[in-house]
């Protein structure tokens, strides 16, 4: 597949696939804007996480901080400046970048599990503070919301008249709900994917992979590895900030739980599931998890009884009782099991699975080709 070596071909395919997602995802019941938007937002989050973890091997367990910071900043931008989403997104990314510089600068002084614990500690601190002392900024447990009395300086200057009711987010007048909201996120995803693609295939990306492979050697090769790692960390944090601010666009509300370490764990999970260090792996991981979360958590025992109606009654009841633990509220159980199975049997994630299968098929077809050829030349 030499065509895929060309960035523009890859981007053309990716763009087409993303923009037509509502069409080709509707047969499996995922073609509605809410879920699509979720795919796009978590896709951005995971792509960004993968730039850090996939390329450098540094496992951050506190990436959700940047998600939270992005959300809070975006909501503040809505409250203070304007309901236009563009400034919200830009400020969200910048603020996340500032946090990432600070946290990254300190955390990257250590590697391995110490790095993970440092990022986790920073995340927990931010989360705890957002809940307690920082309530004036974060509105504590209730979460930061829009109110009618918000100043919205730019909007007020433009309109002059105070609107009735809570305004909704817009992009220069286009309301960001339903499909327009999805397409805005989709464009962000496409840009994010493009940048990630370029990074993966750039000298910078190669150097990051070399750091992952053997950091000590990298130093003796003449590189100062710290700035490389910090750059990757900040880029990755800004992706998370972008994702966070996009969440606020869908629903202008920001809560501290977005920063909790379980949220950080989720992005790790999605990236690993899809395939760490691969370009599309994280997106696959996001797709699989968010899709099944959507399906599984909506299922209940009634639906299960219908699904297994063919079975004899006694068996049906047993099957439903067991399956019932894994759906609805029990979705997290499914997630945990899935997670373990992936790490145990397929540490490279879905992408490795695909690679193995395609390798196997190619191997077979090559055998089939070679067999007659070998006979013709009398073997080797």
């Amino acid at each position: 597949m030499p065509l895929l070596k060309n960035d523009w071909v890859v981007m053309a395919i990716f763009t087409a696939a993303t923009l037509t997602a509502p069409l080709w995802l509707s047969p499996i019941g995922a073609g509605y804007p809410d879920l699509l938007q979720k795919f796009a937002i978590f896709g951005i989050f995971a792509i960004g996480f993968n730039i850090l973890f996939g390329l450098t091997g540094y496992l951050s367990f506190g990436h959700a901080v940047f998600l939270g910071v992005g959300s809070y900043t975006a909501v503040w931008s809505f409250k203070l400046l304007t309901m236009n989403v563009l400034p919200a997104v830009i400020f969200g990314m910048l603020m996340a970048g500032v946090f990432a510089v600070f946290i990254g600068y300190l955390s990257l002084r250590r590697s391995g599990i110490y790095f993970s614990i440092l990022t986790l500690a920073f995340a927990q601190m931010s989360y705890n503070l957002a809940y307690s002392v920082l309530t004036p900024i974060t509105n504590g447990e209730t979460g930061l919301q829009l109110t009618i009395n918000d100043p919205r300086i730019l909007d007020a200057a433009a309109e002059g008249v105070a609107a009735t009711g809570l305004p909704s987010t817009t992009l220069f007048g286009i309301e960001m709900s339903g499909y327009s909201g999805f397409y805005f996120c989709a464009v962000a995803l496409i840009i994010g994917f493009f940048i990630s693609l370029r990074i993966f295939r750039s000298p910078f990306g190669l150097k990051l992979k070399a750091i992952k492979s053997n950091q000590t050697r990298m130093k003796y090769t003449g590189f100062n590895t710290r700035p490389y790692l910090l750059t990757a960390f900040v880029i990755s944090g800004m992706y998370a900030g972008l994702a966070g601010s996009l969440m606020a666009i869908t629903d202008p509300l920001a809560g501290a739980e977005r920063m909790q370490w379980t949220a950080s764990g989720e992005v790790v999970l999605m990236t690993i599931l899809g395939g760490t260090g691969t370009l599309v792996g994280p997106l696959l991981g996001v797709g699989i998890i968010k899709y099944f979360e959507n399906i599984f958590s909506a299922l209940n025992d009634n639906a299960l009884h219908q699904a297994f109606a063919i079975l004899p009654d006694w068996l049906e009841n047993i099957v439903v009782a067991i399956a019932g633990e894994f759906v609805g509220e029990g979705w997290h159980l499914t997630l945990g099991v899935l997670f373990m199975l992936i790490v145990i049997f397929l540490p490279g994630g879905v992408m490795e699975g695909i690679r193995r299968i395609s390798g196997w098929i190619r191997g077979r077809s090559r055998q089939a080709e070679q067999a007659p050829a070998a006979e013709a030349t009398g073997g080797e």
Binding site: G57, L59, L106, R109, R110, S111, G112, I113, Y114, S116, I117, L118, L120, A121, F122, Q124, M125, N128, L129, Y131, S132, V133, L134, Q215, W261, T262, G265, V268, L269, I272, E325, E329, G330, H332, L333, L335, G336, V337, F339, M340, V343, I344, P347
Partner: protein
């Protein structure tokens, strides 16, 4: 002065729990080289041992309430009370201490099964994969507990006789105001005994000697032709029992819920790192130290100067220690350094 003593005491029981969890965590890390994110779940399982046993002991039947005469009233009466009268009531009252005895074999079994079934296969895998698979296991365990016991905390009271507070102040001549719940005092004592037992076991038995040698230099011990594998299993079992006991005993202090393991896990990791990866003494010292620090940070006098400090103190200490002293308080050279 009284206030300070009280804060130290308050910190000690939490510190005791941290120390117990961190002890097992660092023991497993030091000998098996495994970063076990499911260790908090073992603590949680211990607490739910207490819950389960209490539930079993209080299995009840509906009986007519004789004390209410003007209408048909029913009350729940435990079988134990019906069968054994006052002795039955006493057994129910003492369910938490009884749980300790039952929890030991159960936790040992859980630990051994976990090690043989899963952890064993991850000795040679990268730390990141160990973290991830045990993280997955922790989710699975806590979700199972959630589906059985629900999401709400379940009160698990201590025996009636120790329900009150100990007049510590009066005992030490520090004023009547200084009182401290009996159960917390017992917890502290209990933590001390468990910690002492683990150390004694490691110090004075041949088995312990091999384990300590293994913590020091795993490869050499392997080369000596000692069956390290079986010992690893037992070490993991011990760690599970210690975490479980910490959980059983903590149930009266903090009504168990399914995510308590995760809450304590994050803190315990911090404790392990602060104490120094793979250092048993460090883990215990850091556990108590951080417990006390946390308790001081939640004093109003401190909070008024540094608002929010109580929320972040442990993490702040962790960050400073890792950055300034990457080996922790008592860590050895060359453990997980870059």
């Amino acid at each position: 002065m009284d206030a300070i003593l009280l804060q130290i005491l308050n910190g000690l029981d939490k510190g005791g729990a941290y120390a117990l969890i961190a002890l097992g965590l660092t023991l497993v890390f030091g000998t098996l080289g495994v970063v076990n994110f499911a260790h908090g779940a073992l603590f949680m399982l211990g607490a739910f041992c207490a819950v389960t046993i209490q539930k079993v002991l209080t299995l009840s039947v509906k009986v007519k309430d004789e004390s209410i005469t003007f209408f048909e009233a029913f009350k729940e009466q435990p079988y134990l009370e019906i069968w054994f009268g006052d002795v039955g009531t006493a057994i129910i009252d003492w369910s938490v201490p009884i749980s300790i005895l039952i929890a030991i074999p159960i936790m040992l079994l859980i630990g051994v099964v976990m090690e043989r079934g899963l952890i064993k296969h991850f000795y040679k895998r990268p730390h990141a994969e160990q973290i991830l698979v045990t993280f997955g296991l922790a989710i699975v365990l806590q979700e199972i507990i959630k589906s059985f016991f629900g999401a709400n905390p379940i009160p698990t009271p201590a025996p009636e006789i120790v329900a009150g507070s100990a007049p510590i102040g009066a005992l030490f001549g520090l004023g009547e105001a200084v009182v401290y719940p009996w159960w917390r005092l017992i917890y502290l004592l209990f933590a001390g005994i468990v910690i002492f037992s683990v150390f004694a076991f490691l110090q004075f038995t041949t088995f312990g000697m091999v384990v300590r040698a293994g913590m020091h230099d795993r490869e050499t011990v392997g080369l000596l032709g000692i069956n390290v594998e079986r010992r690893f299993t037992i070490v993991f079992g011990i760690a599970a029992v210690v975490a479980g006991l910490a959980g059983v005993m903590y149930a009266p202090i903090l009504p168990p819920d399914y995510h308590m393991g995760m809450d304590f896990l994050v803190l315990s990791f911090v404790v392990v790192v602060v104490g120094g990866m793979g250092s048993l003494g460090g883990a215990v010292a850091a556990g108590f130290l951080l417990g006390i620090l946390q308790s001081f940070a939640s004093m109003n006098e401190v909070k008024s100067i540094l608002p929010g400090i109580d929320q972040i103190i442990i993490y702040l200490v962790a960050v400073v220690i890792i950055l300034v002293r990457p080996r922790g308080l008592m860590g050895r050279k060359g453990v997980m350094e870059d």
